[in-house]
C-alpha cells in the first residue's frame, strides 16, 4: 500500500555498552546503518577489518566443509526440504552452541584436510593403474627392465612400433646392422601397436646394434628397476592399498557428519560477527562514547527507542531525513492481498523515494491477467490446493518463498474464476469423458460467460478492453502522483490530454461501421462519434502545445509537441499487446482439448472398459501435467511483461534503494528473540 516513512536516527551510547547495543540492533534488524559523522579530532574510527576478515574466513571454511560433507554424505529430504526455511534456535540453545564454535572451525579444517588427502588419493589411483597397464606386455620377461647387460654382452630392452615376428625383427636388424654378429633377439610380446623386444649382443657390437635399433624406432620400456612380474604385483597391491585408503578417508569424512549441525551454526555465527565488526569499523567513537547513525522505519522507532533507553544509557535522536541530501532506503508495506506482488515489483525496481507504492494496482491486474491467460478451472484448482498445502505444512518458510506461493495461490483463484467463465475444466474433459465412457455426448461444462474458442473475436475485444482499462489505470496513477506533488498542470498535460486523445480515438473508431462490423458490435450513434472526434482533436492539440513545454523557443516546443503526439502509435501497440491474453488463453484450452481428444480416441479404440480407463488416465495425466506446466510458466512470463512494459511504462519510474537493515544475516538458523 505504501512506502514506509523512514526516520534518520542517531544513537549515542557509552563505549562499555557498545557490544551489547550493536547485538541488540543486529537482532532487531530494523536499522540500516548509515554513519555520517566525519572523523575529526574528537571522533575517530577503529579499524576492525582484520577481525571481520578472520570471521569471514571461518564462515568460508565452515561452508566449504559443509559442501564436502554434502558430497560424501548427501543429506536426504528431497525437493520439498527447501520449503521448510531456517530452523529456529532459542536463546539458551544459541548460548550452548556458541561454546562449540571453535571446535566446529577445527572440525572444518580437519574435514578439509581429509578431503584434500582423499582427492589426492583418488587422483593417484588412475595414475598407478596406467603404470600397471604399461607393464602388461612385459609380464613374461623375467629380468629387471633396466637390465643393461653383462661385461661381455650388452642388452637392450624396449619396444618397436607395429607387430613384428621374430624372423622379421631379425631381418630388419640384419639389414640395418649387417656387420653385427652374435645378436640374439627375443620377442617378449607383440600386438598390432607395438612389439616388445629383448636384444642381446656382444659389447663390441653395442654401437652398431644401438644405431640399428634407433632406426627401427626402438623405445625404452617403462622405468621400473624390478622384474616386470614383481613390479606388477607391487603396483597391484599399491592400487588395492590406495583404494582401501580412499574408502577409509571417505569413511572418516562421513563420520564427521556429526559436525554438520555445528558447522552450520559456525557459518551463521561467524558471518553475523563479521557483519557486526564491519559496522564497528564504521562507527565514530571517542574514548568514552560511540555514535551509530542510520535509517529506521517510523513504525519501529518507538519500540527501538524504548528498548535502548530502558536498558542502556543512550541518547536517542530522530529527525526527518532530507531526500535532497541523501538517498533514503525504501521498504514497502502491504496487506495480505498485495504483499505477494512486492517480489515482482522488486525484480523490476523499487519505487524511488516519494513515488507511490504500486503494489495494490499491480496486484489487482496481475491476478486477473494471469487468470485470463491460464484460464482453466482445474489448473487453477491444482495451483490453489498445492500452494495452500505447502503454506500450511511449512510454517517456517522463508518470507520470499512464502510471498511467491501466496502470489500463485491468488493467481490460481483467478485462474479458476476465468476457467469457469470460459467453461474450461481440463479443457473439455467433462464432455470427452461423458461421451467416451458413458455415451452421453450431451453432457458438458457450460461456460458461465462464453467460450473463447467459439467466439475468438468477442474474446479479442474483451482482451483489448481489459488492456485499455489497465493502461488507463496506469495513466490515472501518474495523474494521482502529479496531483500529490501539486503539479496539477503536469497532470492535465501528461494525463488528461492523453485520456482525451486515446479515449476519443477509441470511441471514434467504435462509431465507424467498419470497426463495429469487425468486432460484431452495434456501432455507437453518429453524435457520439462526432463528439469524440472533437475531444480527440482537442487532446491532440493540447499535447502538441504542451508536449515540449520544457523548451523555451516556440518552434522547438511545437516540434517536440508533435513528436510527443506521435506517442499515440505507442498506445496502439500497447493495446495490441494485450492480444496475448487471447493467444495464451486459447493455447491452454486448445492443447488441453488435443490431449483429451487423443486420450478419448485411444480409450474408445480399445473399448471403453477398464483398459480404456487406464490408457485414458495415463494420456490424460501426462498431457495435462505438460500443458499446465508450460502454460502456467507462459502466463507468469507474459503477466510480468504486461506489468513491466505496458503498465509500468505509463507511470512508474522506480530506482529506489532497498532497505537493507543490519540484521542476523544467517543461512541455516533463525535466532529467536529473547523474552
Amino acid at each position: 500500500m505504501s512506502v514506509l516513512p523512514m526516520e534518520r536516527v542517531l544513537i549515542c551510547g557509552l563505549k562499555k555498552d557498545r557490544k551489547a547495543i550493536l547485538e541488540l540492533l543486529q537482532h532487531q534488524g530494523v536499522i540500516e546503518i548509515r554513519n555520517t559523522v566525519e572523523e575529526d579530532e574528537v571522533f575517530g574510527r577503529q579499524d576492525k577489518v582484520a577481525a571481520s576478515t578472520t570471521f569471514r574466513r571461518n564462515t568460508t571454511l565452515a561452508d566449504q566443509a559443509l559442501a564436502v560433507l554434502n558430497e560424501h554424505a548427501p543429506e536426504g529430504g528431497g525437493l520439498l526440504a527447501g520449503l521448510d526455511g531456517r530452523r529456529e534456535l532459542s536463546a539458551e540453545e544459541y548460548e550452548t552452541r556458541v561454546t562449540k564454535r571453535d571446535a566446529a572451525v577445527k572440525a572444518a579444517q580437519e574435514i578439509l584436510s581429509l578431503e584434500k588427502e582423499w582427492s589426492e588419493t583418488k587422483a593417484e589411483i588412475p595414475r598407478t593403474e596406467s603404470q600397471r597397464v604399461a607393464l602388461e606386455p612385459w609380464l613374461s620377461y623375467d629380468l629387471p627392465l633396466d637390465f643393461g647387460g653383462t661385461t661381455a654382452t650388452c642388452a637392450f630392452t624396449g619396444t618397436v612400433p607395429g607387430q613384428l615376428g621374430l624372423p622379421e625383427a631379425e631381418a630388419l636388424l640384419a639389414q640395418y646392422a649387417p656387420d653385427a654378429q652374435d645378436v640374439d633377439i627375443n620377442v617378449i610380446s607383440s600386438s598390432p601397436e607395438q612389439t616388445c623386444l629383448f636384444v642381446i649382443a656382444g659389447r663390441k657390437h653395442e654401437q652398431q646394434v644401438r644405431e640399428a635399433l634407433r632406426r627401427m624406432n626402438f623405445a625404452k620400456p617403462p622405468i621400473v628397476s624390478a622384474e616386470p612380474r614383481k613390479a606388477a604385483q607391487e603396483l597391484d597391491s599399491r592400487i588395492a592399498e590406495l583404494k582401501e585408503q580412499e574408502k577409509q578417508l571417505d569413511g572418516k569424512i562421513r563420520e564427521d557428519v556429526k559436525y554438520r549441525d555445528d558447522l552450520r551454526f559456525a557459518s551463521d555465527y561467524f558471518s553475523m560477527r563479521a557483519d557486526k565488526y564491519d559496522v564497528l569499523s564504521s562507527l565514530a567513537q571517542t574514548r568514552m562514547v560511540f555514535l551509530v547513525g542510520g535509517f529506521v522505519p517510523q513504525e519501529n522507532v518507538g519500540q527501538l527507542e524504548n528498548m535502548l533507553t530502558s536498558r542502556y544509557d543512550v541518547v536517542f535522536e530522530t529527525e526527518e531525513p532530507d531526500p535532497s541530501e541523501e538517498e533514503i532506503p525504501v521498504k514497502l508495506k502491504n496487506n495480505a492481498f498485495s504483499a505477494p506482488l512486492e517480489g515482482v515489483i522488486e525484480s523490476y525496481s523499487l519505487p524511488h523515494w516519494g513515488e507511490m507504492d504500486p503494489s495494490m494496482l499491480v496486484a489487482v491486474f496481475y491476478y486477473v491477467l494471469y487468470g485470463m491467460m491460464l484460464s482453466d478451472a482445474a489448473y487453477g484448482l491444482i495451483m490453489v490446493v498445492a500452494c495452500a498445502v505447502a503454506l500450511k505444512k511449512h510454517p517456517g518458510m522463508e518470507e520470499g518463498l512464502r510471498k511467491s506461493l501466496k502470489m500463485f495461490l491468488y493467481c490460481g483463484i483467478a485462474t479458476m474464476f476465468w476457467g469457469f467463465m470460459f467453461g474450461s475444466f481440463f479443457g473439455d474433459a467433462v464432455n470427452v469423458i461423458a461421451s467416451t465412457f458413458f455415451g452421453r455426448p450431451d453432457i458438458k461444462l457450460p461456460p458461465i460467460w462464453f467460450e473463447p474458442v467459439g467466439k475468438p473475436m468477442k474474446m479479442l475485444v474483451f482482451c483489448f478492453a481489459v488492456g485499455i482499462v489497465h493502461l488507463f489505470t496506469g495513466l490515472g496513477a501518474k495523474c494521482y502522483m502529479d496531483i500529490k506533488a501539486h503539479a496539477i498542470r503536469d497532470a492535465i498535460y501528461d494525463v488528461v490530454f492523453w485520456y482525451m486523445l486515446v479515449g476519443g480515438c477509441i470511441l471514434l473508431l467504435l462509431s465507424t461501421s467498419m470497426m463495429a462490423d469487425m468486432f460484431s458490435l452495434t456501432p455507437l450513434p453518429q453524435q457520439v462519434g462526432s463528439a469524440s472526434a472533437v475531444i480527440a482533436v482537442a487532446g491532440l492539440i493540447g499535447i502538441i502545445l504542451t508536449g515540449g513545454r520544457e523548451s523555451r523557443s516556440w518552434v522547438k516546443r511545437i516540434l517536440k509537441g508533435l513528436y510527443a503526439a506521435y506517442g499515440i502509435s505507442g498506445y496502439l501497440s500497447d493495446i495490441l499487446s494485450y492480444s496475448r491474453l487471447l493467444a495464451l488463453g486459447l493455447a491452454t484450452s486448445v492443447i488441453a482439448t488435443v490431449f483429451n481428444k487423443m486420450a478419448g480416441m485411444v480409450a474408445s479404440g480399445v473399448g471403453a472398459g477398464v483398459i480404456g480407463w487406464i490408457l485414458f488416465i495415463l494420456i490424460f495425466v501426462i498431457g495435462h501435467v505438460l500443458n499446465m506446466a508450460i502454460n502456467a510458466m507462459g502466463a507468469y512470463v507474459h503477466t510480468n511483461r504486461l506489468t513491466y512494459v505496458e503498465f509500468f511504462g505509463k507511470f512508474y519510474e522506480g530506482g529506489g534503494k532497498k532497505f537493507t537493515p543490519f540484521m542476523d544475516n544467517t543461512k541455516y538458523f533463525k535466532i529467536k528473540e529473547e523474552n
Partner: protein
C-alpha cells in the same frame, strides 16, 4: 483436381506445426546448451535457467494450435471431412503462413535473446525478472502472427466460396 482444396488446407496446417516446431526445437535446444553450462557451475540456478530455456518453446505450441484449429475447421479431426473448394483450401493455406514463418524465425531469434539472458542470470541471479523480459519481447511478434492466423482460420469457415 477437385480434391485439391483439402490438400492445401492440410498443407497449411502441417506447415504451421512443422515450421514453428522446427524453430522451437532449434531454439530450446540452443538455449538448453547455454543453460546446462550454467548449471555445471551452479546447480541452484536450475529453475531460473529452465524457465529461460523454455521461452522459445511456445512457438511450437502456437503452431500446433493453428494446425489443430485448422484440422478441426476442415473436418479432418472430429466429424467427416466436408467438401472443400480449391479456393477455400488455398485460403486456409494462406491463413497458416503467418504462424509458420514467424514461428520459425521468432523462435530462433528468441533463443538468442534467451541465451544472453541465461548469461545474465549466471552473473546476476537477482536480475532474473528483467532477464525474463528480453526474450518475452520477441515473443510478441509470434503472438501477433498467431492472432492473425487464428482470426483468419475462423473467418474462412464462415465464407461461402
Amino acid at each position: 483436381m477437385e480434391n485439391m482444396g483439402i490438400f492445401f488446407a492440410l498443407l497449411g496446417a502441417s506447415c504451421s506445426a512443422l515450421m514453428s516446431g522446427i524453430g522451437s526445437a532449434l531454439g530450446v535446444g540452443k538455449a538448453g546448451q547455454a543453460a546446462s553450462g550454467v548449471v555445471t557451475e551452479d546447480p541452484s540456478k536450475f529453475s531460473k535457467v529452465l524457465i529461460l530455456q523454455l521461452l522459445p518453446g511456445t512457438q511450437g505450441i502456437y503452431g500446433l494450435l493453428i494446425a489443430f484449429i485448422t484440422l478441426t475447421q476442415i473436418g479432418l479431426m472430429g466429424g467427416g471431412s466436408s467438401d472443400l473448394s480449391l479456393t477455400k483450401g488455398l485460403l486456409y493455406f494462406a491463413a497458416c503462413m503467418p504462424m509458420a514463418f514467424v514461428g520459425l524465425i521468432s523462435a530462433i531469434a528468441q533463443a538468442n535473446a534467451s541465451i544472453s539472458s541465461i548469461a545474465l542470470v549466471a552473473k546476476k541471479p537477482d536480475q532474473f525478472g528483467k532477464a525474463m523480459i528480453f526474450p518475452a519481447m520477441v515473443e510478441t511478434y509470434a503472438i501477433l502472427a498467431l492472432l492473425i492466423s487464428i482470426l483468419s482460420v475462423f473467418g474462412i469457415s464462415s465464407l461461402s466460396i
